[in-house]
């Protein structure tokens, strides 16, 4: 049983770092999909089975909060855990993400341990392929 993950960030550097952090865990990762914005991410979701989403907020074309709104509005995707990872650390922005259905929130800059801590509780009972 593999966990397919979708990483959404306009920075290729951050996508690479997050991919490395995931590989450092003992979890059975499957496909790691990458998207540079919310529009690309929705396209990937339509054609791939995803068990976990890590998403930035500030992105071109469609930002992370708009993307999250789209995910939660779709019955097929609404149960997928979405962890927001962003420099947007204000209480207002965190609360906005939580109200829109974010499963957890990590503020940039982050450590590998912080990412792992936030991911593990979200993976209990998630669908794997």
């Amino acid at each position: 049983m593999k966990i397919n993950v979708l990483i959404v960030d306009d920075s290729a550097a951050i996508r690479k770092i997050l991919t490395r952090v995931l590989s450092q865990t003992d979890l059975p990762w499957g496909d790691v999909h990458e998207a540079g914005d919310g529009v690309e991410a929705l396209t990937i979701l339509k054609s791939s089975e995803v068990s976990l989403i890590l998403s930035d907020i500030n992105m071109p074309n469609m930002d992370g909060l708009q993307f999250l709104t789209n995910v939660r509005a779709n019955p097929q995707w609404k149960q997928i855990p979405v962890i927001m990872i962003s420099t947007e650390g204000s209480e207002t922005k965190v609360m906005e993400a939580v109200e829109l259905g974010a499963s957890n929130y990590v503020r940039k800059p982050f450590t590998a341990d912080q990412i792992k801590e936030k991911i593990l509780p979200c993976l209990k009972g998630v669908a794997t392929s």
């Binding site: 290729a12 550097a13 690479k16 071109p60 204000s90 207002t92 800059p109 982050f110 450590t111």
Partner: protein
């Protein structure tokens, strides 16, 4: 004395301490902005790169700046009740070093990956400055970073001065700069929040 305390002490001697940014609801000192920049940089470099930084004396610099040597420059805009720009500037060699540390791979020439990494560092630093500023002067919007690599160019901000915080990383110099002015001419009803 930690870096932030040292910065505060140094800064009180500087001409910048005599000036402040005045908004309708709040006043924001430039030394506070410099402290926020340093604090955000300390955290970002320590967390993402495992590097310690040392700071030089902050200063003010003319809005128009000539850059004659090769530099990697990241610019990021802020907009809300105040408008401004944050800037990181360093040598290509340091940019490669920082990107190598961040991505844990050896990068010896400035390429897309290096520029992307420097852009992300600027995003983290000024994103956190933004969060600190928001506690005093309300919400901001943050732009996506723009990264420039080259030499013999001029930068000009719309403000009077850059607030410049020089830092040293791995025995190399890196400048953090920011200009921020009250937005008195435009309404940002969706972003601006009055403080009670």
């Amino acid at each position: 004395m930690n870096l932030s305390q040292k910065l505060s002490q140094d800064f009180s001697e500087d001409c910048l301490a005599a000036t402040s940014l005045r908004g309708k609801e709040t006043m924001l000192d430039k030394d506070a902005i410099a402290r926020f920049m340093l604090s955000a940089a300390e955290e970002t470099f320590a967390t993402m790169l495992g590097l310690q930084i040392t700071s030089g004396k902050p200063s003010g610099e003319q809005a128009e700046t000539a850059i004659h040597v090769e530099r990697v420059v990241a610019l990021i805009g802020l907009a809300g009740s105040y408008n401004g720009t944050g800037m990181i500037s360093c040598s290509p060699a340091l940019a490669c070093k920082l990107a190598s540390e961040m991505l844990m791979e050896s990068l010896s020439a400035v390429d897309g990956e290096v520029l992307d990494a420097i852009g992300e560092l600027s995003n983290m630093i000024f994103g956190n400055v933004k969060t600190m500023l928001e506690q005093q002067i309300g919400q901001f919007g943050l732009s996506i970073p723009t990264i420039i690599f080259g030499r013999n160019f001029w930068t000009r901000s719309f403000g009077e001065h850059w607030i410049v915080v020089p830092i040293e990383v791995n025995e190399c110099d890196l400048d953090l700069r920011m200009c921020l002015l009250p937005n008195s001419t435009r309404s940002f009803s969706g972003l601006h929040r009055k403080h009670s």
